[in-house]
Subunit: 269 residues, 2 copies
């Protein structure tokens, strides 16, 4: 394994196929699905992708940014230099760092048959920032697997940015059939818990989750569907002193994750 | 108490003094401090302000929005009708609801002498979204008081929006001298706990906070200053399985609040 990289060439025109591809992937979910690719922007995200063995197709970087990339192992990844005006054209941030990459979608697999496992299933989460923040928290608190069922696009640039690199560390799968997913978990002995705003549900603070457990979090506005709640083994709730609307979906997921798997952590804050 | 309101008149020009005042207050912290006023946008925020007895100077609303305001008690608050193009000019959202208000800054007082009390002190939080989200969570989990020490402006439109109305429900004070604040709390028998990323600190999940306790959360990038940590009675930490960077300040504050005061809540999720 060698460090550093060789510049594969310089791209000058906005009509270059790689620039056009980058912009198309950044813009449309349809394009991402069609090509099985997504985009990254920023030194940290690209570095996290490299560190975690993501399949990067190519990197685009300004001359200034190239010098900062030398510490990462870009062996076999083509790195193209782009001028500042192209950087500003393709950037989605106000102060671009000048580093971009096109990366293959992540091919995860969750092993539900393990003897113990803590899982989080998100149903119909629609805010990119919330999805990213939940994935970041799941990474911190050490979930064994995360199921994104009918959520907003995890590969949208906004979600990817909000994950702060956790997209490369969390074992997640994208799902479209929550009913079937619940059945699969049940067959593997995983107890499923619907997080609901209902004071009759089990109080999560006084409850101890079993060794194999999955918590389900629903949509920001509407929560989980009655159909999904019905299919779960039990319902759990976060008791509050204030108003119900005051806990957003990301924070509710964070507190559930803390109760589910955070408390036996090894590192600190 | 009567419901509804009388329209105090119609504003047509962008040069009208109230429109100019609204825009100046929305734009600059200096102007807000100078006038002791801040702005609200959206039906929910304005309704929350009215419900919680905030001192609203005046309301601006489009004809369409006026009809939706009739259920709230705007007695004695002047409501001015504005045309759609003025609404679009002063709005900070992509799909404006057409309701705006200018409101007096909130005059809170935290009574530290109570027999029991759970407090949250934020030091140098600089992201408006984080500050709003933490206030929202503090509202949900029922903190007795919140101290904003050298944080970003709680009255900026972005923070106010992120609080989702909790700015009118949480008992918060703005502070510039955290050392003096800590002394005041100590004099009142409140134990102070610095939240730190240090595995030698007390594990918050196995610790029981005393009846009078305050948790301190530091800056997004740098945490709490050594000086502040030194002045606290003890340090507490959130043990993690993943990487330290993966828990953002708002989520860390949320989990601390949950451990501090959330677990004995009355309502659900």
């Amino acid at each position: 394994m060698s460090n550093g990289f060789k510049c594969a060439g310089t791209i000058q025109s906005k009509d270059n196929p790689r620039i056009k591809q980058f912009c198309a992937l950044a813009k449309a979910k349809k394009q991402r699905i069609c090509e099985g690719l997504f985009v990254l922007e920023g030194i940290r995200l690209v570095a996290d992708a490299v560190k975690n063995g993501a399949a990067i197709e190519y990197v685009l970087a300004t001359q200034k940014a190239l010098s900062e990339l030398s510490e990462f192992d870009f062996d076999n990844i083509p790195v193209f230099e782009i001028p500042q005006q192209l950087c500003e054209k393709i950037s989605q941030t106000q102060t671009p760092q000048g580093v971009f990459a096109v990366c293959a979608m992540i091919d995860n697999h969750i092993d539900f048959s393990k003897k113990s496992g803590k899982y989080l299933m998100l149903c119909d989460i629609q805010d990119n920032g919330n999805l990213g923040m939940i994935m970041r928290t799941a990474d911190a608190l050490g979930v064994d697997g995360m199921i994104l069922s009918n959520c907003c696009d995890v590969y949208s640039p906004k979600t990817v940015r909000a994950t702060m690199g956790s997209i490369f560390r969390v074992n997640f799968v994208v799902d479209k059939n929550p009913g079937l997913m619940l059945e699969t978990m049940k067959e593997n002995g995983i107890y499923t818990y619907a997080a609901v705003p209902d004071s009759r549900a089990t109080n999560v603070s006084t409850f101890e989750f079993p060794q194999k457990a999955c918590v389900l979090i629903g949509n920001e506005g509407n929560g989980l569907s009655p159909d999904i709640i019905e299919k779960c083994d039990d319902s759990v709730t976060i008791r509050m002193n204030g108003t119900i609307e005051s806990l957003n979906a990301a924070m509710a997921a964070g507190i559930m994750l803390w109760e589910l798997c955070g408390k036996d952590g090894h590192n600190a804050l």
